[in-house]
Symmetry: C2
Subunit: 139 residues, 2 copies
């Protein structure tokens, strides 16, 4: 089957491939905007259906910046020795989960900062868009 | 020596430690803002003094979003089996480098997408702020 490539000659991944790759790594990076300035934090995540579940630091400021506002989430992998890699980017809006879901996901989600005194909230990122690119291996 | 920790019990890294860790990895993630929406792209980078040099996709849209505007750059490492990791975040403004610097850095910087037809511009991120956190190993 022909691969689809973008104008930069990167292979365009299907939604199904993107979700599989997202689920294959425990850690991604969440970006949010505070007064026009972008911020990035590493977060542990899992994939639930077409949504991404992650832990975020809990606090009035974080809640105001993350919840019901546009965020981006990225997972990648890269092997410089072989010049291969991929990157999946999710754009969407984050919402808190129910208490019952929170208990269920907390058991599955390891924390980037396990063992620390950080307070967390469990959040569901509902995608507006999921895009992925893979470096084409040389033919 | 006592470690400095933040209110989440993460070890606060010094600027010198942050720059050493930034330089220890070839790949980071760049975040920029487009009409209030955050975007993340993986980029190869190197550290030059207190600044970060990276390749970005070259194009009128990318240039308008990246250059002379606030961006964030993050590098991390994480070992889930040992619950250890670190993350360094740079906030600042990106500027194009001179042609001479561009040639010099191009030789040192591998591209995330080596071998593709992507057009690149080499950019210097001048930090306003460099912050880093490390998970404390259990005592």
């Amino acid at each position: 089957m022909d691969q689809v490539t973008d104008r930069h000659d990167l292979e365009v991944l299907s939604l199904s491939e993107c979700l599989t790759l997202l689920a294959s790594r425990p850690l991604g990076r969440l970006a949010y905007v505070d007064r026009g300035v972008p911020h990035i934090v590493p977060v542990n995540h899992l994939v639930d259906g077409n949504t991404v579940i992650f832990r975020a630091l809990h606090g009035a400021k974080t809640d105001a910046l993350l919840l019901d506002r546009p965020v981006a989430f990225e997972v990648d992998d890269h092997d410089p020795s072989r010049a291969v890699g991929w990157s999946v980017l999710v754009h969407g809006t984050a919402h808190p989960v129910t208490d019952e879901e929170s208990r269920r996901f907390a058991a599955e989600l390891e924390s980037w900062a396990a063992g620390t005194s950080m307070r967390h909230v469990i959040v569901r990122l509902v995608p507006d868009e999921v895009t992925g690119r893979r470096l084409k291996t040389p033919e």
